[in-house]
Symmetry: C2
């Protein structure tokens, strides 16, 4: 072991290797109080360094935990005491922007927000967006196939990646920095590494697809009387706004009350009269006309009875205010100790599902506090449940209630957060034994010694 550590240290030089003292000064993960427990933290600066240190670890059969911005929510990047951490934090260069082909080539450790800003500076737009934008890194976004607020229009991370450079467990560098929208020359290998949570290879560089910069933003918050009307509203919005509809974020009343009552900073833009509130965003390509059109479509939806109340964010400040309200997830702490979920299910099953889990939770814990919000257009909900008890037993009891009904309706235990360690026990609720067997087969084919993010997603 000491021999391996000495070789790794030699390989990475000053600043590239952190020993025990420095390891323990870092937290184990986002929002966790316990310190990091790894044997060492490796901080390579180049793909070549990633390759060399992985080859050494592979030869020694040493488990490696790959870390990006550490903002994941399923403990995928939390290292154990027998692992070595590889952090991509020093690979943070934006290497190239092609404004004609609309691509950006970046190293894995670049924070999402820097990519968004660089795209805007070049007159273009990178649509991936999530609350952790300032801390999360693009390598992690890609490895976990991050979703976020604009999936309804632009898709998940998978849709925004044209090319990938990855390093396999044994140090082999796979150079697949494709820059074209269309390339059917052999297997599309990058798909293996997107969303497999670092278990099949380490993403070192990414070619991203950039979009045109939208010329107009329109945002509204609306109140809706029933779930049926919510579906009607979504239908009108999709039908009349077409692909310009970029977000359709639903808040059940419980969540809306939480983020608009003190100590939350935003007073309620609409009265507490409706069971559902929806934040609607449209990104258009005609500055003046788009706002008029948005008003027309909202008026039409109102005439049809699909919405009962609305406030439109006219200025940038007003629009940002509506989003800040929706994003104020710190208010969830007012539920007491709580568990956050990330599930997807067919939209037509959603109402019965939410009512069903509500009944089960309230039967079991009469004092339960629970709220629901999510990306309705994508079939993605985030129930958050506080039962006054954060013990593993309580967690498991809540998990059973949330996950149990999903299997029958074809739902998924993870929509956008991934499996990591936290949901591993529930993978079989969403996937068949044959599928999980094939995942293992792939793991063995790409990482025969099982050194990369061992035990994440499934037990090997």
């Amino acid at each position: 072991m000491n021999d391996l550590l000495a070789k790794l240290q030699q390989c990475l030089g000053e600043g590239g290797y952190l020993g025990q003292d420095e390891v323990h000064q870092r937290p184990a993960g986002w929002g966790l109080e316990e310190p990091c427990q790894a044997l060492a933290i490796l901080r390579p600066q180049t793909t070549d360094e990633v390759s060399k240190v992985l080859a050494l670890c592979y030869e020694a059969g040493q488990a490696v935990c790959v870390q990006g911005g550490m903002t994941g929510l399923v403990r995928g990047g939390v290292a154990t005491s027998d692992e070595i951490v590889m952090s991509l934090e020093r690979m943070r260069e934006i290497e190239a922007v092609d404004t004609v082909g609309r691509t950006m080539t970046v190293q894995a450790g670049v924070p999402l927000q820097r990519i968004q800003e660089e795209a805007l500076e070049q007159g273009l737009f990178f649509p991936l967006d999530l609350g952790a934008r300032g801390s999360c890194q693009i390598g992690g976004n890609v490895s976990t196939n991050a979703g976020g607020n604009r999936v309804i229009r632009y898709g998940m991370s998978r849709n925004l990646v044209l090319g990938l450079e990855t390093v396999l467990a044994d140090g082999t560098v796979l150079s697949g920095l494709n820059r074209m929208v269309k390339n059917n020359s052999g297997y599309d290998l990058k798909q293996l590494f997107i969303g497999s949570e670092g278990t099949l290879g380490v993403v070192t560089r990414v070619v991203l697809r950039l979009e045109r910069r939208p010329k107009s933003h329109s945002t509204a918050l609306v109140g809706v009387e029933s779930f049926e009307k919510l579906l009607g509203l979504l239908s009108v919005m999709e039908d009349d706004l077409g692909p310009q509809l970029s977000a359709f974020e639903v808040m059940w009343k419980s969540f809306y009350e939480l983020v608009t009552s003190g100590p939350a900073r935003t007073p309620p833009p609409l009265a507490y009269k409706w069971p559902y509130y929806v934040l609607i965003e449209v990104l258009g390509s005609e500055r003046v006309r788009d706002a008029e059109r948005f008003d027309e479509v909202l008026a039409e939806a109102s005439d049809k009875g699909f919405l009962s109340d609305a406030v439109i964010g006219r200025s940038r400040r007003e629009r940002d205010g509506l989003w800040a309200m929706r994003d104020d997830i710190e208010q969830l702490d007012r539920l007491g100790p709580h568990f956050t979920f990330d599930i997807s299910l067919p939209i037509r099953e959603m109402n019965a599902y939410v009512n069903g889990i509500g009944r089960s939770l309230e039967a079991r814990w009469p004092e339960v506090k629970w709220v629901v919000f999510g990306h309705l257009g994508d079939g993605n909900l985030h129930p958050v449940v506080g039962v006054g008890d954060a013990s593993p037993a309580a967690r498991q009891a809540v998990e059973e209630i949330i996950y149990d009904p999903l299997q029958q309706i074809g739902g998924a235990v993870s929509a956008e957060h991934g499996i990591g360690l936290e949901k591993r026990a529930y993978l079989s609720r969403s996937r068949t034994p044959q599928e999980i067997d094939l995942m293992r087969r792939l793991k063995r084919a790409l990482d025969p010694k099982g050194i990369l993010n061992r035990g994440r997603v499934f037990e090997i």
Copy 2:
């Protein structure tokens, strides 16, 4: 062998098994005069039958060639005399349409056009479209990651698939009929089978993502003075029309002349004055306003000098006429024996590339006839070259000229047609040895005996 054939016949019953006589009555492939050479043709009707016959073949180590609608252009589905053909032609049921979740579940043998029509009947839209729509089958579209005319807006087949049921070489059924836009529950296994040309598994059922039906179609043909202006035009269209721009099909003058001069049925809508002609399509969501907006954007492009001449398809008949002209690829026969290519390359390299291959072709064959057309917005070009000689030696000489310069500029030898048998020798121009090695590793992991579409894409 006879033992295996007897078992297969027994398994599939009447109509499910075609012996030698019937095999020889079928052509080997689309546009080929030679008869099919396979040992037998299997025509399973259910996933269970696919599984059973594959298990038998796998046990016997018998090579199987999987066939869809046989409209592929790279000889991927052309069977050899030691193979058994498995055709999905009897699995042609549309099983379910969910108009709320906007999904359609279909069997692999359903022709693309039936899916398009069913979607329209349900008030929805399936955007995948290509010339072979009446004959090609969705299983083949998915297995080859088909592209077509609307990739600029809707993406390739990969983007339109939510779930897949596949059968592995050994008969294992992988049931991954996911219906949700977001599902990060473990590896996204369907990605393995999309675009791997039937070498890793047989697609038996597909869950497709449907789109809203557009409310307006606008189509124009324009003439452009230079390649620089062509890029300016694309930029204005993308910028002003946003995601409503659904096609930007460029014809080099040589191609335009071919499809608008006798015996072609369409007289030239614009004079032969320009080096480039572009067919532009916009799918919008406001019936009246969209046509006005399209006119405005074209006028703006004209004011900026990006287009020099234009004709707008006002009626459905006029629009269809413009597309029929572009799709009249039978005129290519007037080049004499010819070779058709399907390449992609960064847009900013395109002009120099096309001029370069032109110089090389004309230097080698002063009498060469060659045309170029393609999906410019996707970086996808189709050069078609006739040198008066269809011999393998002539083919190879032309291929060298087309493929050689691609490697240096990061282009690809296949954009949307795949590799099959025809381009296998050139795979290494687009992919690294490490990538091809990983493809082989995947093949061995999923099909250790190498029975499925053996030798397609790469030699195993």
